[in-house]
Amino acid sequence: MRHASPPQELPAAGGEIQAALAPATSSSARAGARGGGGGGGGGGSFTALLGLPTSQAIELLLPRTAPPPALALAPAPAPAAAPAPAFPSDPHLVDRAARFSTFAPPSPSSPSPAPPPPPPPAAAANAGKRKADTVDRASKGKAAKKGKTAEEKPAGGDGDDEKPAYVHVRARRGQATDSHSLAERARREKINARMELLKELVPGCSKVSGTALVLDEIINHVQSLQRQVEYLSMRLAAVNPRVDFGGLDSFLTTECGRIAGFNCKNGIDLEQVTWPEMGVHGARQLMQLQQQFWHGDLAHPHQVASQWEKRGDGHPPVFSNSNPSLFGYDLTSSGTQQTPATKLKTEL
């Protein structure tokens, strides 16, 4: 996996870009006539890129180490990239998005990758979008037919050498080259990058091609997750009247909120600690109720370790896989709404 390289090379690229942009802002007066749109002076904006000489622009726009167009799973990467992201795959989402966008905004190092890249491109792109939306349907159509990989840019550059000297952003072959359509394309590529990431996130989307269908899948997935929440909360609500909730609270939070199973090792600790409270005969009773449930391993505590290892290997969500008789659903399968509902009916 290439997860080691991207976080390192992106700051390097960012440093290069910033170095290149420092002299460029001095020459941005030249680009002022063309690149008017966003705040030109604001370091690292789209219009500052326009002021760059041709070769530097190409260098900046091409991804440093051309990443393979096919996205591997977003997440494998390094715990080193861990400075508390907004959501787990955040730094790498932004890395990917930045790499796939038309221009590479000067993104500082990975700890705060998020704020600088989206606002400048968003500002420039929005400015361009507002003007372009009413005008650029045709060019959008043309652009949609071309590919969207950054590697096409050199080919486009060869065909577009006859443009006026101060437009230096590479457009693809046969495309309109005004700043509006470029901003449009940048925005579109940003959206496409995010769609790619969403496709990875939502199971079953990678086979589907086409934005509408992928969006369908995403909507279905979100709705199914929300329905699961509702179902689970109904389940909780159904059980609750018979439970003294304060007592349950203490049961759940005995280990400082570390509910068993969040961490395999901790899960074992919790088992061994809390079950003496409940009584060993209760554990046996439990085993008769649920065979594969993680609590059910308690009758053979010496085997718990091996069970955890065996289970922990292939089953990240331990709970969901361990009790088909009760739950019967799986995070990876989306079509399982019926079974929980029927089970609820039978149990109630």
């Binding site: 400075p83 959501f87 959206i191 509910i259 395999c264």
Partner: protein, 205 residues
């Protein structure tokens, strides 16, 4: 392998550490919220109907998720909007009593219907000149985007598509974690009730 690898989504293994902390926060918030709700509720837990209880649990779960989420986001620039939307909706619902929450929902869906209807009128007008395939595709995508906005909390705010997709990603991840936590809680509750009753029956034996 062992270790904190039970991430909410099966694809993010490195995010397991972050998600575990989020789940713990969520759990704590949920328990606090439920306990507060039962303590302060006008009607005790037993007296509420199943629907009301379900709604209370779900609402507190959502609020717990929304409250636990920004702990990560504020560290790196907090751009997720859906937590604020959930909290705002919940605050609006709880500040007044239960019935206005129903009307709030109705009002929201009315606005959505209006917007959808307006779009449909435009589409019919435009359909006169050209049904190019790209236009059709674009219309479909736009409809799906609006549908997605309805589903994601806070999606109706003026956000462009890119921000909406980012919100969606964030929301999906947290939603998965919430489902996971709720599943474990309900399993634990089940265990505790099953232990309670059989142990009593066994004591009687």
């Amino acid at each position: 392998m062992r270790g904190p690898n039970n991430a909410a989504s099966s694809s993010t293994s490195k995010g397991g550490g972050a998600m575990a902390a989020f789940k713990q926060d969520l759990l704590r918030n949920l328990l606090l919220g439920l306990r507060a709700r039962t303590a302060e509720a006008a009607c005790p837990f037993d007296a509420m109907s199943l629907q009301e209880r379900k709604r209370a649990v779900k609402c507190s779960a959502d609020v717990a998720m929304a409250a636990a989420a920004p702990r990560r986001a504020s560290a790196t620039g907090g751009r997720a909007r859906w937590p604020k939307a959930i909290l705002a909706a919940a605050a609006a619902a709880s500040s007044s009593s239960h019935s206005p929450s129903g009307t709030c929902k109705v009002r929201k869906s009315a606005c959505k219907c209006k917007r959808v209807a307006r779009r449909r009128v435009d589409a019919k007008r435009i359909r006169g000149y050209a049904a190019a395939s790209c236009d059709v595709a674009r219309r479909l995508v736009r409809r799906r985007t609006m549908a997605l906005r309805k589903v994601i909390p806070g999606g109706n705010a003026a956000m462009d598509d890119a921000a909406l997709l980012r919100e969606t990603m964030d929301y999906v991840v947290h939603l998965r974690a919430q489902v996971d936590v709720l599943r474990r809680i309900s399993a634990a509750v089940q265990i505790s009730t099953s232990l309670r009753d059989p142990s009593q029956s066994m004591a009687q034996l």
